[in-house]
């Protein structure tokens, strides 16, 4: 007899958006559109990120992302990747909104805000991010803010009206996982603990740097509400299998955090009773 049931994961609420999956996945870097479509499916994600780029005017033939993705299935989250100042990020966000409005996709009202410091680190420029966040919030966007794992910056972005703060686990595409778990935990407490001025319903999403499923689980075990990743799936040897693993890892971490882990001890505690052993116990 099987008693296995589908794990019951509460939906992820990001402003006005209710997502069935707590994993948000990117659409970049896949070898083929078919592998991407299959990986998106295997990830279980209901929201996917995309980038806004110039239309190829001389080479516009061939299949594009819009041909490969079933837009009716996903809430599309446009990013401002590649922008290095607030002005450009706001322009790109507005262009993304216009595109998604034309496509009739619910994602027109939100944006994954990235204002980058430089091309080598792809770390966010905190000043530009804060400036763009304020402007986009004023323009009616739900702003999901890519940030560093600086706890004070996270609070500043929350206070500027960001729908969610999304600290990087480690640099984009680095596969280094959660480089500073303590910082993520501090961000979690500052944003979500009422005793620290937080709101338990404020969503914290760990974005970037994920290399392996255990990175996703760790992020969720630290109390994140969701994880956003791209390269960890797209550049895996078997992207579809990795997408499935990331989905399971996300669910495992979500349940694990809520189940309340045991404390850690330096010495062992036996799981089997000492009483009734038939042998002599050394030292007793």
């Amino acid at each position: 007899m099987t008693t296995c049931t589908r794990p019951d994961i509460a939906p992820l609420q990001l402003g006005p958006f209710t997502l069935d999956s707590r994993l948000i996945v990117g659409t970049g870097k896949y070898e083929t559109w078919d592998i991407m479509a299959e990986a998106l499916e295997a990830s279980g994600a209901s929201a996917i990120t995309v980038a806004v780029r110039r239309e190829r005017l001389l080479d516009s033939d061939g299949r594009s992302l819009l041909d490969a993705v079933d837009l009716a299935r996903y809430t599309v989250l446009p990013n401002t990747a590649g922008c290095f100042d607030a002005t450009d990020a706001v322009r790109v966000a507005r262009l993304g909104r216009e595109l998604l409005d034309q496509l009739g996709n619910a994602g027109k009202d939100w944006v994954k805000l990235e204002v980058l410091g430089d091309k080598a680190t792809l770390l966010p420029d905190p000043v530009g991010t804060l400036e763009a966040c304020r402007e986009l919030v004023a323009d009616g966007f739900s702003v999901l803010c890519y940030s560093s794992d600086d706890p004070i910056m996270a609070v500043r972005l929350r206070d500027a009206g960001a729908t969610s703060v999304m600290p990087a686990g480690s640099p984009i595409g680095s596969g280094r996982g959660i480089a500073n778990p303590a910082a993520i935990r501090i961000i979690h407490d500052l944003l979500k603990d009422p005793a620290m001025g937080g709101d338990p319903s404020y969503p914290l999403v760990v974005d970037a740097g994920v290399g392996t499923p255990s990175d996703v689980t760790l992020a969720m075990e630290l109390g994140a509400d969701g994880v956003l990743l791209n390269t960890g799936i797209a550049h895996a040897k078997h992207p579809v299998q990795m997408a499935r693993a990331m989905r399971l890892a996300c669910e495992a971490g979500w349940h694990g955090y809520r189940a309340g882990r045991i404390g850690t001890k330096l010495f062992a505690t036996a799981s089997s009773p000492w009483r009734g052993t038939i042998n002599v116990i050394p030292g007793e």
């Binding site: 990117g26 896949y30 595109l99 791209n230």
Partner: protein, 66 residues
């Protein structure tokens, strides 16, 4: 007259409207967002958007990204 589209110079007829430029580039009917001089022109306003000499136009679409 000359305008700039996606960073490249383009010769168009005087008095061209935005849909005429899009058609000239083979983008008629394709989902694409358009900026003229750094301001988005919503789809509903394309027909009434007249392009002027020196205008800088950006035409974008969605691509894979993270």
């Amino acid at each position: 007259m000359q305008i700039t589209v996606n960073g490249e110079p383009l010769e168009i007829d005087d008095g061209s409207t935005l849909p005429a430029v899009l058609a000239m580039l083979g983008l008629e009917g394709k989902p694409c967002a358009v900026e003229v001089n750094a301001a988005v022109v919503p789809k509903a306003e394309h027909d009434s958007c007249t392009i002027h000499a020196g205008d800088v136009i950006e035409i974008v679409t969605l691509v894979g990204g993270g």
